[in-house]
Point group: C2
Amino acid sequence: MSIQARRERERAERERAIISTARDLAESEGWDAVTTRRLAAEIEYSQPVLYSHFKGKDAIMAAVAVEGFGNLADDLTTARADATDPRRTVADVAAAYVSFAERRPALYDAMFTLAVELPFASQEVPVDLARGFAQLAEALRPFAGDDDLETFTETFWSGLHGLVTLMRNGRLRRAGHERRLALLVDRFARLG
Amino acid sequence: MSIQARRERERAERERAIISTARDLAESEGWDAVTTRRLAAEIEYSQPVLYSHFKGKDAIMAAVAVEGFGNLADDLTTARADATDPRRTVADVAAAYVSFAERRPALYDAMFTLAVELPFASQEVPVDLARGFAQLAEALRPFAGDDDLETFTETFWSGLHGLVTLMRNGRLRRAGHERRLALLVDRFARLG
DNA sequence: CCGCCATCCTAGCACCGCTAGCCATCTTGC
DNA sequence: GCAAGATGGCTAGCGGTGCTAGGATGGCGG
């Protein structure tokens, strides 16, 4: 029994290694550098081992994305916990969101741009995604007014996501970044 | 001289065929289906011909994107021309933007998600992109208030882009789509 | 101790973007 | 009118991709 336990433990460790290696590789050299051959070499196993853990490369990226949703939720939770004034809370949570996307662009891509379908089939992604979403929603609650809070939050979230993605693809002037964020926050964190 | 003119004309036609075939193929089967082999077969020439027109596949996608910026600018121009009431104008232009993104997702991707670098190196993209941007800006002008109009427009545009991309990737509930759009418009098309 | 079984690796498939080099055709200069 | 050169398109192939079939290997249970 103990032997089997060790095997399962080693296997779980290896799966963790695959995910974190894929993430590190993507963050340091971009997702183009994350090939199954490269990934296999990095974890010091052969290619087919990857396929005994994941259905394919997409599933690996999806696993990385899942981890990312947890990280993002943590960041947003911290940001909200530190804040006091309601309006300031929205600004801080929004800043944390943007900061996350800028500090970890490859991870953010895996979560929102690539791996379109996969993560939402599983059960656990909505959990961490909802956790992050809830932080945004709670920060925004005082300002939702007559609007449905969930709809309100989704719309604000879209604004953040749009700022982040257009900015990173060079569709927006780098200069006005802070001003745009402040403007967005101002439009949503006001009464009436 | 006439012979050379015919040659150049034929060559230009072929270049047009490459671009429009790539666009059609992407719109009907997705960008994954747009391979250089497939594209060459579709235009009934061999692969290397593509490379006598474009530097590589990315350049072809960029050319498709350029065309897309023109289409989008046309749509937004039409939407603004038809409108009367300032607030309604913003709503209509925004609706035209979202409609474009939903009707032509592959084209929209080429413009804003894929082909990150290329189109902005050339001269003509900013022209059509700026043309579309200007339509948004003019619609929003009455509501910018103390904010810089360009920054204001960029922020609203980001909101639209976020709505569209998150929606299409399944990160937002399909149900609340119209309400989110209306909410975004309401937050930006108000005085004070 | 031996046969079984799981595990992992080697080798290869079909496809990708891209390019070198040949071959035919068409133009040009004599 | 004809040879020589230039041009343009093609065939074939390179190195890479994600993924998989099938064989070797090493530890386990009887």
